[in-house]
Symmetry: D2
Amino acid sequence: MQIGMIGLGRMGANMVRRLMQAHHSCVVWDNSRKAVEALAADGAETAENLRDLVRRLGKPRVVWLMVPAGFVDGVIGELAPLLESGDILVDGGNSHYRDSMSRAWRLNEHDIHFLDIGVSGGIWGLERGYCLMIGGEAESVRKLHPVFRALAPPHEAASRTPERANSEPAGAEQGYLHCGPNGAGHFVKMVHNGIEYGLMAAYAEGFNILKNAGIGLESQAHDAETTPLRNPEYYRFDFNLPEIAELWRRGSVVRSWMLDLAASALWQSPELDKFSGHVSDSGEGRWTAAAAIDEGVPAPVLSAALFQRFSSRDRSEFADKFLSALRWQFGGHREKS
Amino acid sequence: MQIGMIGLGRMGANMVRRLMQAHHSCVVWDNSRKAVEALAADGAETAENLRDLVRRLGKPRVVWLMVPAGFVDGVIGELAPLLESGDILVDGGNSHYRDSMSRAWRLNEHDIHFLDIGVSGGIWGLERGYCLMIGGEAESVRKLHPVFRALAPPHEAASRTPERANSEPAGAEQGYLHCGPNGAGHFVKMVHNGIEYGLMAAYAEGFNILKNAGIGLESQAHDAETTPLRNPEYYRFDFNLPEIAELWRRGSVVRSWMLDLAASALWQSPELDKFSGHVSDSGEGRWTAAAAIDEGVPAPVLSAALFQRFSSRDRSEFADKFLSALRWQFGGHREKS
Amino acid sequence: MQIGMIGLGRMGANMVRRLMQAHHSCVVWDNSRKAVEALAADGAETAENLRDLVRRLGKPRVVWLMVPAGFVDGVIGELAPLLESGDILVDGGNSHYRDSMSRAWRLNEHDIHFLDIGVSGGIWGLERGYCLMIGGEAESVRKLHPVFRALAPPHEAASRTPERANSEPAGAEQGYLHCGPNGAGHFVKMVHNGIEYGLMAAYAEGFNILKNAGIGLESQAHDAETTPLRNPEYYRFDFNLPEIAELWRRGSVVRSWMLDLAASALWQSPELDKFSGHVSDSGEGRWTAAAAIDEGVPAPVLSAALFQRFSSRDRSEFADKFLSALRWQFGGHREKS
Amino acid sequence: MQIGMIGLGRMGANMVRRLMQAHHSCVVWDNSRKAVEALAADGAETAENLRDLVRRLGKPRVVWLMVPAGFVDGVIGELAPLLESGDILVDGGNSHYRDSMSRAWRLNEHDIHFLDIGVSGGIWGLERGYCLMIGGEAESVRKLHPVFRALAPPHEAASRTPERANSEPAGAEQGYLHCGPNGAGHFVKMVHNGIEYGLMAAYAEGFNILKNAGIGLESQAHDAETTPLRNPEYYRFDFNLPEIAELWRRGSVVRSWMLDLAASALWQSPELDKFSGHVSDSGEGRWTAAAAIDEGVPAPVLSAALFQRFSSRDRSEFADKFLSALRWQFGGHREKS
């Protein structure tokens, strides 16, 4: 099939490459000239601008957006008037699912079809395939099956779930899933990323506990502002974190792809000293927590993971000063530097 | 009565003053000469050292410790051989209740009585009285009633609980309570401080939310590492925090003594810029969380308050770096500075 | 002044009474005939319906709504066409501040003034006064000062904040505060209630830890599904919770109005056995957590308090089953009944 | 080698089978006659009692315990007098690492060597191998290498970490690791299980959010005790959870062995209705949280996961009643049934 791809960042560019490897033809555009040229060199047809991109596509057109969430409305605003009845517009970025629902409703009024697709796979997707969570009408989803098959990992990417192994690989085993009507794709992706935050934090906290297990070897302050460690003899370990991460990759209950990556990162630098520890969050973790609140279901782990990221960026500063101020007020406690 | 007071810090010194105001006589010692002299000037009898202090006390003696938790064992080790059968030793500091139980068991073997007393009141206690949570045998508690009455706030310090108002003020209304056998006093004080952490954090988070309610006025980054604020028009407030703290002190559900202090602190400095936000924890918050874990009861709020203090002191540093390292590994996400 | 009050539930009815005690005249309506008659007996002028209420008010009219958040739009929809340029409409209920902003914008188009006022005080407000957090234009706020003064607690309701004591009581000391433009009143009330959730949870967790401090007296299961309590000798307490609550009301750092109420509740029933423990949440706690997420500031305590309420209503049921299912899958662990 | 195995539950029995498959010889005992006979049928030598087991082993003996944590002291108490200088005793169960340290110290006095080994793998270990985290002296560890190799998964169980792929598989890649001196094995296992709790909870919360994403289709209560869902149109999804779990197994960032198991469990029963949702905890989660507290490092995610398990077993009951009681006190709010 022919696909127009708008947005050639880390994700979009590699998706184009994977599509071309499967003999789909791609027309590409990005506001970075350099990004466009890199793909031209890899065989993609390039467009001068959005109008040109639309012009180069056969009808009904398939246009796929891979742009940051904050730019989607701008691009759609420019693009929609250029599209025609029957065209399919895909947003494969990390848009809020509510925006995707609104956009679908608006585009549908002009008989333009819209799919919201959550894409997971990161920089590894080119080689291993992208996990696709799809929202939209069944008819448009059906039309894009060849595209999805090209992007998705092969079913062999995972061992068969034993209960399913008696029949041919089907449904989600193909690495993509029509999750429901518009919004469903980005909703599932949102929760996926919320879980991701929780998983990452679970490992991070655990490795931090291992990292600090030698605290009993440090000399202990003895003053009214400090809790002396009660049993320093139990905290005299000096753990080899890269080896522990590697160990857990085999046979243990906590093995995962994320742990594979942690083993790489810790092997490269056991102290992780290339990093400052200011952890960004790109939206889905927030939206997942907000969805839990709307639904009235508890999400203490996912929200704790989110809030820890905020704290890592010093967003609790005033709250912390407030605590010190109160301690000073009631107890005359001075802050330790 | 005559009381020997060891430890003349913020708490101990003022407790001596309050006792003397009630015509108890005090023999005092501290390893700071200056602290001792200050109380001598206020009328206390001073001792040269522990042996001298014990010598100056009539039998059966009452010796009260107000020293940091980390020094209690040292002082008791020196003091115990000087005491005699029937003497009463009080630990009014923030010792772990398990230590108090062990100390009581050891001292009881030599027929020395031990009371563990949690004392709340901070720098305000001199004027308003100290709330006393007492653990130990009933007989020793009974002997010290005059001391407790002098230290505790008058029952008028709070309005009568309506259900109790038909009878004379009794029991806990006197501002002190025999909570149970040894350990009970410091256990109740431990939980008291655990609650204190939770209360402080609740206010701190709330005021931080108010403080940041103008975030919609800031320009928003638009890139793959940043979540744009979806509805900046709803976050354009510029709240007067000192006035809001003051407001809530009257008629609102969240009024409390802590809020009184917050109103003072915010009035003095709405930005709290004297403080850096590195918040100490002095042990009881940790022990309360650990007790909840031992008991198998949930304490998500109290432990979140505790962990936020750890974070304020950068104790999540390695965990945060770990998160950034993983983000880099799977998504090629660079940290923002 | 003359005020029209719509909604005569626990809050509205008592606010009318407090207004009439201050010699304001009130025209009242509620869809419960009984509620209307109760206030007629207390001296209020009653209306047959909204139209009649509006008709009975002198111009410019002041109409105050005290209805559940879910009904506000319906009432305004019916009421707005009856109002005229210059009238003032007040929403004193627990509306979402964003709704208040939208309503203000719509009403302003018809030159109807709108105030969003957060009201705290509960069933105690009649006697002690209501804490008022006000959002809207300064001009309308000014006009209602006499009403606010009547509703608010006297400044004597709290001791003077020492730093303010040199000048006459002013500003928030009057028990009401103009917090900012429309939305500000309900925003501050929202955060107020978020804090309230956190405070309540801090006490609840603390008292639960005290309640379970005798767990070492119970016999301990010894099997692969159970953690034996390591040191049962440290958990053999039997605390008197009503007395501890009463104790902390005097001199302690955790004293508060909420603790006053806890002392009453525990005195009435130390086991609190009239209650099932399914804890409702009425919105503001959710909105506060969501605002923290929008602002990107951590709120681990306030959100933990919220989620515990969800859990108390069994909203984690599927998540819990999921955990049991995983434990069965990887370890063959059966659930204990 | 010859190994004496004590404790033939789910773990111990299969470890014996895996050892015998690798041509080690095993002498086994359990207090369940049936468990012993099952292994006799599989070729193990059986002992009548502990004394008999020790008698049947060649010197220096290797005795491995796989018994619940609560029974270890009893078994060691009976066993130690039967052992001799140079024998090696292994505790492969889920003992607290501090107990392992104390036991090692005591046994070392009698020149009996002790290893604390955390074993992960659950019911899948027989086929796939067990991940072994080992604490103790290097010399004893070295002697047992053949045993560890037999029990551990082959290095092929995971793909090579790219950074290590240039050299032969070594160290932790063999599926077992000498983590440090006594206590280190059970410490690392403890943190491993703490992480496990966090991971499980992250998935559980995420799937619960998906499960409840149709809440907008339910009719909404409108009263003062209920928050109406503000935008029901955004919560009308009906997700296929087994398919979503299966989907995420391929290409997504959250793929893991735990997710593999979740896919099985959900495929078997999408409602998980065989389970009640009372989730046990077997100790390590508690100890991990306590270690974090001792070290002064934040563990909000791991502790939230732990506390949610406590809540699932109704251990927050009194706290929840307390909240309802306060709501009744200040607002006259009745509980909804």
